[in-house]
C-alpha cells in the first residue's frame, strides 16, 4: 500500500480508465455487455464529428467567447473590492465577504430563475451579454477570492515605492501592481473559465438556445442513447481546459517575463 507504483496504479484506474472507456465508446458505437474490449470499431462518430464540424466549432467558439468574457468581466469587477478586502478592515467586512461568496455556493437555480424574468424585461435574455453577466455573477467569488489572496501576497508598499519613484497612478497599476497580481489573476481566471465553460443550466436558461454553447450541444447527446457521439464530444470538451492550462502557463511566463513568482 505504501508502494508508489501501487498508489499510482490505483490513481490511473480511478482517473484515467474512465477516459479510456469514453475513447472506447467513441470508436465503437456498438460496444455492449459483456465485451471488455469493443468487438467492432466504427468511424461513425468521427464521421458525424466531421459532418457537424462547423456547428461544433461554432458552439465551441461561443463557449470559449463567453467564458473568456466572464473571466475578464469578473476580473474588472473584483479588482477594486479585492484590494479593499485585502488592504483595509472596516465594520461589516466579514459579513460582506461571506455574502459575496454566496453566488458560488447557493443553488444557482434560485437566483437565475428569479433573474430570468428581469433579464427578459431588460432585453438581456437570449443575448451574449446576458449569458456573460449571469455566468459572471455565478463565478466571480472565485476571482474575488483569488485576487484578495493576490493582493494579500504582496506588500501595498510596492505601489507606494513606485509612486515615490515618480510613477503616476496608471504606471503604478499597469507596470507594478498588475504583474504582481498576475499569478493570482491567472489562478482565479482559470477557475472562472472552467466554471463558466462547464455550466449548462444557466446558459440554457438565460441564453435560451440563441447563444451557441458547447455544453448546450453536448447535453442532449449525453442524455440520448448515442453514447458514441456523447463520448467523443466529451473528450473534445476536455481538450479545452487542458489546452487552456498550458496556454495560461505560457502567457503567465511571458507576462511576468521569467520572474519566478508562482501563485
Amino acid at each position: 500500500m505504501r508502494s508508489p507504483r501501487l498508489i499510482l496504479a490505483a490513481f490511473t484506474v480511478l482517473f484515467v480508465l474512465p477516459l479510456c472507456v469514453l475513447a472506447g465508446y467513441a470508436a465503437a458505437p456498438g460496444w455492449t455487455f459483456p465485451e471488455i474490449i469493443p468487438a467492432r470499431l466504427s468511424g461513425r462518430a468521427f464521421a458525424l464529428l466531421a459532418a457537424q464540424g462547423p456547428r461544433i466549432a461554432l458552439a465551441m467558439g461561443g463557449s470559449i467567447l463567453y467564458s473568456l468574457a466572464a473571466v475578464v468581466l469578473s476580473f474588472l469587477l473584483c479588482l477594486a473590492p479585492a484590494k479593499l478586502f485585502a488592504r483595509t478592515s472596516f465594520r461589516g467586512k466579514a459579513l460582506l465577504e461571506a455574502a459575496l461568496l454566496a453566488p458560488a455556493l447557493v443553488p444557482s437555480m434560485t437566483f437565475s430563475m428569479g433573474a430570468h424574468y428581469a433579464f427578459i424585461r431588460l432585453g438581456l435574455a437570449d443575448t451574449l451579454p446576458g449569458v456573460i453577466l449571469v455566468l459572471t455573477m455565478f463565478s466571480f467569488p472565485y476571482m474575488l477570492r483569488a485576487l484578495t489572496a493576490g493582493y494579500g501576497a504582496f506588500s501595498e508598499k510596492y505601489a507606494l515605492c513606485a509612486q515615490n519613484l515618480g510613477a503616476g497612478p496608471l504606471t503604478v497599476a499597469l507596470r507594478v501592481e498588475l504583474p504582481l497580481l498576475a499569478p493570482a489573476a491567472a489562478a482565479g481566471g482559470s477557475v472562472v473559465f472552467l466554471v463558466a465553460f462547464s455550466e449548462y443550466f444557466l446558459v440554457y436558461l438565460i441564453g435560451g438556445g440563441a447563444v451557441p454553447s458547447y455544453s448546450g450541444l453536448l447535453f442532449p447527446y449525453l442524455t440520448s442513447s448515442d453514447r458514441s457521439t456523447a463520448s467523443i464530444l466529451t473528450l473534445l470538451f476536455l481538450s479545452v481546459p487542458i489546452l487552456l492550462f498550458f496556454l495560461t502557463d505560457a502567457l503567465l511566463r511571458l507576462f511576468t517575463r521569467g520572474s519566478r513568482m508562482t501563485p
Binding site: 507606494l160 513606485a162 519613484l165 515618480g166 507596470r175 504582481l180 507576462f255 517575463r257
Partner: protein, 329 residues
C-alpha cells in the same frame, strides 16, 4: 539648512507615535535616526518622504521637493519589482520622468557600474544576493537624482557579516553623490560607521543628537545610554570608592558602563558571586548583596561563583553626568 522639522506630532488612533520631534539637517549630510523598534522612526521617515502627514508641527525644506528634485525612500525590504529586470528596476524612476531612451540607458548603466551590479543588468531581482538587492534598491533611488534620500532600516535584511561592508559602501556612495540622506536603523554599529550625525529616538521623541563620538561620550540620558549598551545601576546603599571617575549619579544611584566597573576578589567584599555568564564581550555576574541580588556587567574576568568580591570604579569612568538623568522604570 536643507530641511528642518519642528515639534512634529503624530498619533494613530489614540496612540501617540511622535511626541514633538525637532530635527535640522544640513545639505549633504548623512544623518541616522536610531532607536529601538516602535520608537517612531519609520513614521518620521514617512513624514519626511511625504507619504504621511504630521498631526501638528512644521516641516520646512530650503528648496521644496519637486518631481525634478524628489525625496526618494529606500524601503526596508527594498521592494524591487519582481517582474522587471535589474536594468528596468533601475530605470523605473527615469522612465516615470519620460526621459529619453539613450539618456536612461547611459545613466542606468553608470549607476549599475558604480553599484557593482552591471553584470546582472538582465537578471531578475530574485536572482540577486542580499547585498546586490540592497545596492540595486539604492541605485534605483539614486537614478532620478533625489534631493533627499531616505533609508529605512538599510541593514535589516542583510547577513550580519555584510552589514559593516554595506555601511562603508553607503557612506562612500553618499559622499560621492553628495545627496542629503536620512537613515533610520536600530543597527548601532553600522549607524556609527556610516553617519555624519546621529539622533537617538526614544518613545516618539529625539533624546539626543550629535556626531557618533559626541553621542558615545555623552548619550544625554539614561535610556539613551542604555540603548547604546549595558549600564550597571549601583544602588546608593552601596557606597563605592569615589575616585576621579565617579560615573554619573541620579537620585543617589550610580550608573557605570561595563568597562568602568571592576570587581576585585576580597573575602571581606560586600558581594557574593552566585552566577557567571560570558557574552563574548563582557561578563554578567549575578551577585548577592546584603539588601538583595544585583546583576553586574563587567569586563573583569577570573571571578567564579562562590567568590566574595568588592565592586570598584575604574579610572576610565566619565567624570560627571552630562545632563540631568530622568529615571524611569
Amino acid at each position: 539648512m536643507f530641511f528642518a522639522c519642528r515639534d512634529i506630532t503624530k498619533s494613530y488612533g489614540n496612540k501617540p507615535v511622535l511626541k514633538g520631534v525637532s530635527l535640522t539637517v544640513q545639505a549633504g549630510e548623512l544623518v541616522s535616526v536610531i532607536g529601538p523598534s516602535g520608537a517612531g522612526k519609520t513614521t518620521l521617515l514617512n513624514i519626511l518622504a511625504g507619504l504621511d502627514r504630521p498631526d501638528s508641527g512644521e516641516l520646512r525644506f530650503a528648496v521644496p521637493p519637486s518631481k525634478k528634485r524628489p525625496v526618494i525612500m529606500v524601503f526596508q525590504d527594498y521592494l524591487l519589482f519582481p517582474s522587471m529586470t535589474v536594468f528596468e528596476n533601475a530605470a523605473f524612476g527615469l522612465r516615470a520622468r519620460n526621459m529619453k531612451k539613450d539618456e536612461i540607458r547611459r545613466r542606468v548603466c553608470d549607476a549599475l557600474d558604480y553599484f557593482q551590479i552591471a553584470d546582472k543588468a538582465n537578471a531578475y531581482p530574485d536572482e540577486l544576493s542580499g547585498g546586490q538587492k540592497q545596492r540595486l534598491a539604492i541605485a534605483r533611488a539614486m537614478a532620478p537624482g533625489p534631493s533627499l534620500l531616505l533609508l529605512d532600516e538599510p541593514f535589516a535584511n542583510l547577513d550580519p557579516n555584510l552589514k559593516q561592508d554595506a555601511a562603508a559602501f553607503i557612506k562612500r556612495a553618499q559622499r560621492e553623490f553628495g545627496v542629503t540622506t536620512v537613515a533610520v536603523t536600530h543597527d548601532l554599529a553600522e549607524a556609527f560607521v556610516m553617519s555624519g550625525r546621529i539622533a537617538i529616538m526614544l518613545d516618539g521623541a529625539l533624546a539626543v543628537t550629535g556626531t557618533p563620538e559626541e553621542i558615545h561620550k555623552n548619550p544625554g540620558g539614561l535610556e539613551a545610554a542604555r540603548f547604546l549598551g549595558p549600564v550597571n545601576r549601583i544602588p546608593a546603599s552601596l557606597a563605592l570608592a569615589p575616585g576621579p571617575g565617579q560615573g554619573f549619579t541620579s537620585g543617589g544611584a550610580l550608573y557605570l558602563r561595563p568597562q568602568d566597573l571592576g570587581l576585585r576578589k576580597d573575602p571581606q567584599g560586600e558581594a557574593l558571586v552566585q552566577g557567571r555568564a560570558f557574552t563574548g564581550r563582557y561578563y554578567i555576574y549575578e551577585v548577592a548583596l546584603a539588601d538583595g541580588p544585583l546583576t553586574v556587567h563587567s569586563l573583569q574576568n577570573g571571578i567564579v561563583p562562590g567568590d566574595r568580591v568588592r565592586l570598584f570604579i575604574r579610572e576610565s569612568a566619565p567624570a560627571a553626568p552630562p545632563t540631568p538623568i530622568k529615571e524611569t522604570a
